[in-house]
């Protein structure tokens, strides 16, 4: 039963990410990306990692929706895009090499048991477990990630600010070209 579910999800994920990279229409790509992200959460649920599954849906799918909005702003989505079918050789080649890569990676990994540094506890939900590790062992990376987000926010606001256009064109004193 689990095996069937796994393969169904796996095939659907690969199919949707293939659409993401091959489609020329940005809205198709975005929708496929969103569905791929949701499908990945299915794998987490299969592995009894409900917490990560939910986070996957909230974080990634939320991010994709923001991307969606940007794609609508930047590209003319009404325009008809012709899907190119010419690069079949590259397509086949890349499929083949990616399958090979996956085989390469997974077969040895599954063959011998690797013990995790922080194994799950049997009788607790994994939200508690993840929280316990996140706020003890990984407290510092977690806080530094907060600084990173602050940096990204400051950077984004500064770059999108009005001052950037005002001085680019007309302030003689500033611009040397």
């Amino acid at each position: 039963m689990e095996v069937i579910a796994f393969y169904t999800f796996a095939i659907a994920i690969i199919a949707s990410f293939l659409i993401v990279v091959t489609s020329k229409n940005v809205l198709y790509s975005m929708s496929a990306l969103a569905s791929g992200m949701v499908l990945i959460s299915g794998l987490f649920f299969l592995l009894n990692a409900e917490f990560l599954g939910v986070v996957q849906i909230i974080v990634y799918t939320g991010a994709v929706i923001a991307l969606y909005a940007f794609a609508m702003i930047f590209f003319d989505s009404a325009k008809d895009v012709k899907e190119s079918r010419r690069s079949r050789a590259i397509f086949l080649l890349s499929t083949f090499s990616s399958i090979l890569l996956v085989l390469l990676m997974t077969i040895p990994m599954s063959s011998d048991a690797v013990s995790a540094l922080y194994p799950m506890h049997q009788d607790v939900g994994n939200a508690q477990d993840v929280g316990m590790v996140l706020f003890t062992k990984y407290l510092i990376p977690f806080e530094v990630a907060a600084v990173m987000l602050l940096v990204a926010m400051v950077g984004g606001i500064v770059m999108a600010g009005k001052k950037m256009d005002r001085y680019l064109g007309n302030d003689k004193e500033e611009i040397s070209k």
């Binding site: 390469l104 003890t136 510092i140 600084v147 770059m159």
Partner: protein, 496 residues
């Protein structure tokens, strides 16, 4: 239910975190000051940055060596301390470049200085850990700040440079994450000492996966350190960002990169994985040689310096590959000497930055700009000439000692061919540095110009920076031995 855990505060070892916290607090202070009072002069922010960097440096000196903190995530060993010292001092000197007499777009933003301090904190986190996750987060914090600071220069070329750097950086981050994932899959840990332990215990089986992970890691840091064949963004980024920031990029981020490469690859080489050594050997030779050959054909001084710093990075990578204690203490010796010389060279470019002055269709600092400089401005020409022959490795100036030390460590470790390649490359490099010297001392000046061009952007603090760089370069013969003792001590403390 999980049982409740209590952690005594002493067990966290808070002092390990103090230097980075000071830098982060500095960045936040600058943001808050800007909130309360708009349009303050940039000099306030520069001084605040220097103040916080000084406190940061003091806190680093105060650290006890060889301790871990915060559940073993923070690691303060010798290499972490010395690299933080080098990075903070170099950052402090480069932020002085902001005291330019002309006004520039980026210095209107208090955020520029806040980002600068966040970036310093990011690099500090990166070197003070052997946890792959913290290294990654620190690296990204620093890189994001750097991209933004590059854009704030606000010219077409700087946008291009930032986008290029961002795309390459994103790719490098992807490779890093991939590599960390494979290491985790192999060993069940993201901590380097544990990874090495498990790999060693299992005799590196399955070899193919260790290969995949190491190559991905190498590609990632190849991009960050701009070693051939991952260097393509380098010269464009140097060209697009201001000379002040280009000088910074050529020194500080690379220190952080070197530290992580030392931690990962020397660990792997010490475990006895031969092919990593062969791959690194190839990269080192390519980086030194090809970057030198490309530098020969550049028409722009800044692009030439970009290729030259790639080639210098190749020298340091050679030391990392050799991996003996002598080579390792040579890494920081070489890089400290290089940092001061490069500081001087980029400061000269920065003081000669003049708006409206057009020397070339495309480049800001073509060689022709410096033609006949000795007649117009003898002191400046002598300074620039000094930095150029120092970069070329002419004795008795600073980089010569670094080169000698690295080459001798190569010979001592039995890498005779590598030593010969290093010597040959120093000879090739002399050609393009001397090209600028020839332009300055032997060509006729372009008519209708006076010497003020070369000092258009100068101010007292920039002259002081130039003076420091020149003094350090000339007098380095007296400093080399103490610096070497210093670096050897710290490297030996961390067991490299």
């Amino acid at each position: 239910m999980l049982e409740k855990i209590t952690i005594p505060l002493e067990a966290l070892n808070l002092p390990t975190l103090i230097p980075m916290l000071i830098a982060v607090a500095g960045g936040l202070t600058i943001l808050v000051v800007d909130l309360f009072k708009k349009d303050l002069d940039k000099s306030l922010y520069i001084v605040l940055s220097i103040l916080f960097l000084t406190m940061d440096l003091g806190a680093v000196f105060d650290l006890e060596l060889n301790q871990r903190g915060f559940f073993n995530v923070m690691l303060i060993d010798g290499i972490a301390v010395i690299s933080q010292i080098v990075m903070i001092i170099a950052s402090g000197l480069f932020i002085l470049f902001a005291f330019s007499s002309q006004r520039f777009h980026e210095y209107r933003y208090p955020e520029f200085f806040a980002l600068f301090l966040f970036m310093t904190a990011g690099f500090q986190f990166m070197v003070a850990s052997d946890n792959l996750i913290l290294i990654f987060v620190g690296l990204e914090t620093a890189s994001l700040s750097l991209y933004t600071m590059m854009v704030l220069h606000n010219k077409d070329k700087s946008f291009e440079a930032a986008i290029k750097y961002f795309t390459m950086g994103a790719m490098a981050a992807g490779f890093y994450a991939f590599s960390a994932m494979v290491f985790y899959g192999l060993t069940g840990s993201v901590e380097l000492y544990k990874i090495f332990e498990v790999l060693h215990m299992r005799g590196f089986e399955p070899m193919i996966l260790v290969l995949v992970a190491s190559i991905a890691m190498l590609v990632s840091f190849g991009f960050k350190l701009a070693v051939v064949p991952f260097h393509t963004w380098g010269p464009d980024v140097y060209e697009g960002s201001s000379a002040a920031l280009a000088g910074y990029i050529s020194v500080v981020p690379k220190v952080a990169g070197f530290v992580v490469v030392i931690r990962i690859f020397e660990g792997l080489i010490n475990l006895g994985i031969d092919w990593i050594e062969y791959i690194l050997y190839g990269i080192v030779v390519l980086t030194m040689t090809l970057a030198n050959i490309w530098a020969l054909v550049q028409n722009d001084v800044k692009r030439m310096l970009a290729y030259s710093s790639i080639s210098h990075a190749g020298f340091v990578m050679a030391a990392i590959m050799i991996g003996t204690t002598q080579a390792n203490s040579g890494i920081f010796l070489y890089w400290i000497l290089f940092a001061f010389t490069n500081l001087g060279a980029f400061a000269m470019l920065w003081v000669s930055h003049k708006r409206d002055a057009k020397y070339h269709e495309r480049f800001d600092h073509p060689f022709e700009k410096f033609s006949g400089m000795v007649r117009l401005m003898p002191v400046g020409a002598v300074m620039m000439g000094l930095f150029m022959i120092t970069l070329a490795g002419v004795p008795p100036f600073s980089i010569f000692w670094g080169k000698v030390y690295l080459i001798s460590s190569a010979v001592n470790a039995g890498y005779i061919v590598l030593a010969i390649i290093m010597v040959l490359n120093s000879a090739i490099a002399a050609y393009y540095y001397l090209k600028l010297v020839v332009h300055m001392f032997l060509k006729e000046p372009i008519t209708g110009r006076d010497g003020s061009v070369y000092m258009a952007n100068a101010s007292t603090s920039l002259k002081v920076v130039l003076g420091i760089a020149a003094f350090f370069t000339i007098a380095s013969i007296f400093f080399v031995s103490p610096i070497l003792d210093f670096t050897s001590f710290y490297m030996a403390m961390s067991g490299f």
